[in-house]
Amino acid sequence: MARTLKLRIWRGDDKTGGLQDVTVEANHGEVVLDIIHRVQATQMGDLAVRWNCKAGKCGSCSMEINGKPRLACMTQVASYPEDEVITITPLRAFPVIKDLVTDVSFNYKKAMEIPAVVMPEGMKPGEPRMQQVDVERSQEFRKCIECFLCQNTCHVIRDHEENKKSFSGPRFFIRIAELDMHPLDMLRNRKKTAQEEHGLGFCNITKCCTEVCPEHIKITDNAIIPMKERVADEKYDPVRWLGSKIRRREEVL
């Protein structure tokens, strides 16, 4: 079952680097991460790669395999033809630290900018009652393993470093949607801040993020589009506009 595999692995750091050719044995059923480990143990002891669980649950081994953002632990070698050279490169949207390891701190900064869940005042532990159908919408987004493949593939930031300041990316749109749809969350205007502070408007729903999500979260259909629609409703619907004015007048009176 063993086959000889030709790889091109990107090696280098933030300043210099390039693709290096490697030939290595692969066994039946192996994934790309197995191959990288074999290269590491036998040919390149200092080849840098992030990984943890090797079971598609932690989202650490994100990289680009033949140009596609993927988890190396969930990518079967057998999915590539026998004679194909497999090219492995680091995530493109983030600065390279070394080899296949990138600086993903952008994502942790954005996470810090989204206000946490706000529970109803006076609610005590053990008191919440929620129906399964009501928690399921947010549960879909909480499946996110933070592999950041969606962030990496999103063309708003993939080749536009300048957009990073005003755009949080798909991972954080589903975080906002998750909180917005959380049955208990009391913080209002989450959709509005998604639009105004996190750059929801930049997204032109090409669904690239949904395509690369290893958890098959319907990022675009279930999070981004519903938020966009409701932001639009609130902004442009004349009845709602009037309603908000009247309510405000009542508050004044």
Binding site: Q40, A41, D46, N52, G56, K98, V104, P128, C144
Partner: protein, 626 residues
């Protein structure tokens, strides 16, 4: 290179469930906290927990309460548990789960809208709060988001999110520092750059998880290298009962690439059955005497249990993990295994495809993507995989303080005692929360009472020299090769079934690898260099393996996660003994220590006839410690 220095009240090593819960507690007590982890924030091994978190909330069956949970935990551990830890855990677990909900966790619900609870091996009632089969992810993400929420508060109040609590991701701690016999800080390096970091802190909480990577076939991620176990030993703390390792009965066995990856016990909790290559549902043959009145001895009753739990006994697939793992091992050894050396686990006959995909989504995904098996239509092939270490740092149950080292605390998998000789599924996630919180509080109380304890220059120089060593060595040993050799030894000689002769051989071989590991040379420079990182991880794994093999050689009985072919029975006299590992700077030494005696009020929670199966007649006559 100038040394990066930090000062905190508490340093927490490890950012899994226990570490993060400890951090929250210490921070809320008004202390400054550094969280140090080997991986990125939110990637710790806790994410891999699947089935759920055991807490006797009684949402599904209101007969449940802490006493039932306590009894189940002690039975599961074959009464070798530290009773006080099992008691605290059973009492406090519900509060820890409800608290998570207040921090935003969204567990699956009952029809009444409460947190749903599922069945699991060894638990008398449905007890595991869960989110499909990704409960660990929910737990760690909730804790991670709680940390962020606290940092947001600091940003608002002080203009600096990291004023009171900071995460140092991708940092390895190589040494815990002491001055005047007390904790003074921790020393390590940044994985990214290889540059060194000093943390000065009078309290250190170890929450580093397990040791699975010491073994060849394991469900653990690369981080499970026993760092905390080894750091604690080197700092003068003890490890208790390191012979007890849990081999989870159901790991994937094929393809080789995925061998060991966990198949959640929920598959059996949801009705999955185990069969051998003859199609026999073999678990009925393996119900041990101590459980004979609790488990069904025929298929009809076992099947009825899923509908009516009050009038039927449980299916034997839901026996504690040690029993199921040994049963699978026996079937395979007897030649009734599958083509790839496992047995079949099938849930497709009991549940519809739709329900399987809903309740076991990541299992479906895992088998479909990695093995090409559709579990809604066909059985899985499974076999035992090294999953969890019951042994760990000896602690004071109430404060999680490490015995013998003032200022050192340990919680979660790295701490010993709670689970006795075998852990029940679902008890780990609540263990993390209950004792993570207690460790955070213990550390906070300690710091408030003791104040700072500065690190000396001599200690820094010594720690720095150790990090430099693999680069200056010309010995030529390869860390990857030594690691593989160690895994072969533990797998073959210290595995699921052990003998005295094999353990003696293992101890010699481990010592030999340890000698050779002094000659490890590293290629490349310090920058994100996995070969360099492995050199330190390996040193930890070697100490753990030595401690396990030596403890296992001494224990001449079979109990829970320790099975001796040459001493097959459980022995009541051995139940009174803990094995304590300590490190003399050269070798691990083991001594016997009496197990704390069950106090009368806990003794009386059990039917005395059940206790007679575990205890000596003298213990029964005494009726507890009071």
């Amino acid at each position: 290179m100038t040394l990066e220095k930090h000062k905190y009240d508490v340093v927490i090593i490890g950012a899994g469930g226990a570490g993060l819960r400890a951090a929250v507690e210490a921070r809320e007590a008004g202390l400054s906290v550094a969280i140090v982890c080997k991986s990125l924030f939110g990637k710790a091994h806790t994410v891999m927990a699947e089935g759920g978190a055991a807490a006797s909330m009684g949402n599904v069956n209101d007969n449940d309460n802490w006493m039932v949970h306590f009894r189940d935990t002690m039975r599961g551990g074959k009464f070798l548990n530290h009773y006080r830890m099992a008691e605290l855990h059973a009492k406090e677990a519900p509060d820890r789960i409800w608290e998570l909900e207040m921090w935003g966790a969204l567990f699956d619900r009952t029809n009444e809208g409460k947190i749903s609870q599922r069945n699991f091996g060894g638990h008398e009632y449905p007890r595991l709060a869960h989110v499909g089969d990704r409960t660990g992810l929910e737990l760690i993400r909730t804790m991670q988001q709680r940390i962020v929420a606290l940092q947001q508060q600091d940003a608002k109040e002080h203009g600096d999110a990291e004023k009171n609590m900071k995460v140092f991701a991708e940092v390895t701690i190589t040494e815990i520092l002491k001055e005047n016999g007390k904790i003074a800080g921790a020393y390590g390096y940044r994985r990214e750059s290889g540059s060194e970091v000093l943390f000065q802190a009078p309290a250190v909480v170890i929450a580093t998880g397990g040791v699975g990577k010491t073994f060849k076939i394991t469900s653990n991620s690369w981080e499970g290298t026993g760092d905390g176990h080894a750091l604690a030993l080197k700092a003068g703390a003890n490890l208790v009962d390191m012979e007890f390792l849990q081999f989870h009965p159901t790991g994937m066995v094929w393809p080789l690439s995925v061998k060991g990856i966990l198949v959640t016990e929920s598959v059996r909790g949801e009705g999955g059955i185990l069969t051998n290559s003859l199609g026999e549902r073999f678990m009925f043959k393996y119900i041990p005497d101590v459980f004979i009145d609790k488990y069904a001895d025929n298929e009809a009753e076992a099947d009825r249990w899923y509908e009516d739990q009050d009038n039927n006994r449980r299916p034997p697939e839901l026996l504690p993990r040690d029993e199921v793992a040994r049963a699978i091992n026996s079937e395979v050894k007897a030649g009734r295994g599958t083509e790839h050396g496992g047995v079949f686990l099938d849930v497709s006959k009991r549940l519809s495809a739709e329900v399987i995909k809903k309740r076991l989504p990541s299992m479906w995904h895992q088998f479909y993507e990695l093995a090409g098996v559709d579990i809604t239509k066909e059985p899985m092939e499974v076999g035992p995989t090294c999953h969890y270490v019951m042994g760990g740092v000896e602690v004071e149950p109430d404060s999680a303080a490490a015995v013998g080292v003032p200022g050192l605390f340990a919680a979660g998998e790295v701490a010993g005692g709670m689970h006795g000789s075998n852990r029940l599924g679902g008890n780990s996630l609540t263990d993390l929360l209950v004792f993570g919180r207690r460790a955070g509080k213990g550390a906070a109380d300690y710091v408030k009472a003791n104040g700072a304890n500065p690190v000396s220059d001599a200690a820094i120089e010594k720690a720095a020299a150790k990090i430099e060593a693999p680069f200056t060595s010309t010995g030529g040993e390869n860390a990857y090769t030594l690691h593989q050799e160690l895994q072969e030894i533990t797998h073959n000689l210290v595995g699921i079934i052990r003998t005295g002769a094999e353990l003696t051989e293992a101890i010699e071989k481990i010592a030999d690898i340890r000698r050779r590991s002094g000659n490890i040379s590293v290629t490349g420079d310090r920058k994100f260099n996995p070969g360099f990182h492995l050199a330190f991880d390996l040193d930890n794994m070697l100490l753990v393996a030595e401690s396990t093999a030596k403890s296992a050689l001494l224990r001449e009985e079979s109990r829970g996660g320790h099975t001796r072919d040459d001493f097959p029975g459980m022995n009541s006299t051995w139940r009174q003994v803990n094995h304590i590992s300590s490190f003399d700077g050269d070798k691990v030494r083991i001594k016997s220590q009496p197990l704390p005696v069950l106090p009368k009020e806990l003794f009386d929670l059990f039917d005395v006839h059940e206790l007679e199966k575990y205890m000596t007649s003298a213990e029964i006559a005494k009726g507890g410690s009071n």
